[in-house]
């Protein structure tokens, strides 16, 4: 598994080095390299991951809604395919609802939703990667990542953000996208994205992401508090990752209809 993962990273890096338009002096990383590495540490850390995620959806008046879920993720080696399993604890009207995603970087996800009140597993159409994830400010793409080659990346500068040395990278979408420009502040030492700004057609800032807390979890640096703010509506979502664990050996069979209907208790509590 680890070998496959390494090969995957390597292939991303090789790809990035060929595709890179911005290159600095020898030994320096290109913008494409940085984005590829950043995507990897943020979305692909560990062979698998378990986290209890508390999402607070807060409107401009300070009214709060809550989504509490357990998220399981497993990487599937080459190509960057992943499987996600989510079990909802709160609010009470969606308790016991489960949601499963097979993520393919090169095509639309497969998604399934289990509705416990009628014992129904429903296949969900999934070509809406810019739709809101469970009513939050995060889109599906924010939750599971975007392929580096969907944007053209330029290293604008290096600067410090909250005392950390960062690469500042501008990403311009090549095809259709929700945003017209994204600026990312990526930590030079660990490649975690600390801040991202999303610009709309009028070139105005409309969404802003911040990783407000980074923790070392068994040697894997993890953004445990992630805030996405909609500048235009004043709405924001604060996602706190609690009880994060990596490399648990979560079986492939967990990501199946069986466990959608009967959530795997040993993983979700």
């Amino acid at each position: 598994m680890r070998t496959i993962k390494m090969l995957f990273v390597l292939s991303l890096l090789i790809f990035a080095s060929f595709a890179g338009k911005v290159s600095f002096a020898k030994g320096e990383l290109s913008a494409d390299d940085i984005i590829a590495k950043s995507r990897f540490v943020f979305y692909y850390a560990g062979d698998d991951m378990k986290a209890k995620v508390l999402m607070e959806l807060i409107n401009k008046d300070g009214q709060k809604r809550i989504r509490e879920l357990t998220m399981l993720r497993k990487n599937l080696g080459e190509g960057g395919n992943q499987k996600y399993f989510m079990y909802f604890h709160k609010p009470s009207d969606v308790k016991d609802t489960t949601f499963m995603v097979y993520k393919y970087p090169d095509r639309d996800d497969d998604r399934w939703l289990f509705i416990p009140s009628i014992n129904l597993v429903k296949r969900i159409a999934a070509n809406d990667k810019y739709s809101s994830f469970v009513g939050s400010d995060f889109t599906y793409e924010d939750v599971s990542g975007r392929k580096p080659d969907e944007d053209k990346h330029t290293l604008l500068r290096k600067e410090t953000l909250n005392g950390k040395n960062c690469f500042v990278i501008e990403s311009m979408p090549i095809g259709a996208s929700e945003y017209t420009k994204r600026i990312s502040w990526i930590d030079e030492t660990n490649f975690l994205p600390l801040k991202e700004e999303f610009y709309d057609k009028q070139n105005e800032l409309y969404r802003q992401f911040e990783a407000q807390e980074i923790k070392d979890i068994n040697g894997i640096l993890t953004a445990t508090k992630r805030v996405m703010k909609n500048i235009k509506t004043g709405h924001r979502t604060e996602a706190t990752f609690q009880e994060v664990e990596y490399n648990l050996g979560i079986g492939d069979d967990v990501f199946s209809e069986r466990y959608l209907r009967r959530p795997p208790l040993e993983w979700i509590r």
Partner: protein
Amino acid sequence: MDTIDKFQINSKFQIPNIFYFGFSHWCLFGIWCLLPVIYHFLLPAFSFAEELSLHGFLQTNYSVRANDDNPQGAKQGNLILGEERAQLKASFYPQKSKIGMFVKSDFYHDWVEEDWTFDFREGYLDFMEDKFGLRVGRQIYTWGVGDLLFINDVFPKDWEALYSGRPLEYLKIGMDSLKLDIYSDIVSAEAVIMPNFQADDLPSVGRFHFFDPYPNIPNRELEKPDSAFEKFGNMEYALRLYRNIGDFEFGAYAYKGFFRTAGMKADNFNSPSTISQFYPELAVYGLSAQRSAFGGVVSAEYGYYDSLDDRNGKDPGINNSQSRFLVGYQKAFPQDFTVGIQYYSELMHQYSQYEDNLPPTFAKISELHQYLTLRLTKLLKYQTLKLSLFTFYSLDEEDFFIIPEVSYNFTDNLLGVIGMNIFAGAEDNTTFGQHKKDTNIYVTVRHSF
């Protein structure tokens, strides 16, 4: 979807008259007040709170007929549905145990009947092993790939709940059953046995207009299959096999039991003096498949309905054998907008025998009875506001059933819904056309805890 009349039967038990209002009124009020208190203050005090879960809702749900042309027997004028309801769900799944349990029960006051009713909706024990699972008790099943169209989902449904604007979960009725799940890499299976027959709940006398071929003979005996504990041959069996092959999800299904809508017996169908109703025997065999395609999800389902008591198709009181087909496609568009379309048809077998034996007062069904459905869903305001539209249209019966609905989450725990059930049709004897005077507006307010 049958056009034959049915009189209310259900497994709910009702509180005796002496408890009306007064004492039980206060009890219900007490329960309503206490449930959130128990949930918020008492439950967390127990050490097993994580394993024991107690939830539910308080709900009010009203539906009013849009015109004053009320059916015979209407008890409360235009009011089709009026109820205050408390639901309590409790589950207990101890850590590291292979056994767990779940109970869901409703207690409600019905303003149309003016009575109080318990509705034991689900309750089962679970035994879980690595390669199999066993679930015993009353449980809800939903099979197949259709959206409000059911082929291999042979389990009982409450159509009156759907037609009168109850939340979707009330469309499904729990079955007393034993289910064995078998999990394997080759194929997984759900095998179900059901000893107690449960019919569909159809639009009932006094609440809905409906077509009756013999309106002058109102008194009819209804013969329900005896429990399998009394007559073992009445045991119902349902089997679902499923697995993924490549990007396809396949299902295969089999059922042996009874039609869930009643057939009819008469001394003479052309001019009967007595009529009785019963549930004819039925077997169903089917397949389904689903996968991502054309930028969305494509679904297909087939079922052969083998009418065991009328294989030659000559008995007008029993549905003929049929083949049922479904093809569906759903696609998501940017900004939380989803579209789903379906084509569904029922091909009647032995059609010439059906035509030859059809009594003159019966509504004639086409050899190929077809529906088109359209579902539009739009979410707004961080998914707190949902606009939806579901439309049935029959190509041959030329009737409609349209459900526009707006729902809004005021908070995580408070949901409000307003919608309409619109029935329209060229004739009075078709599936939806018979209810065209029953177009209604419904409101639901639910507080979950």
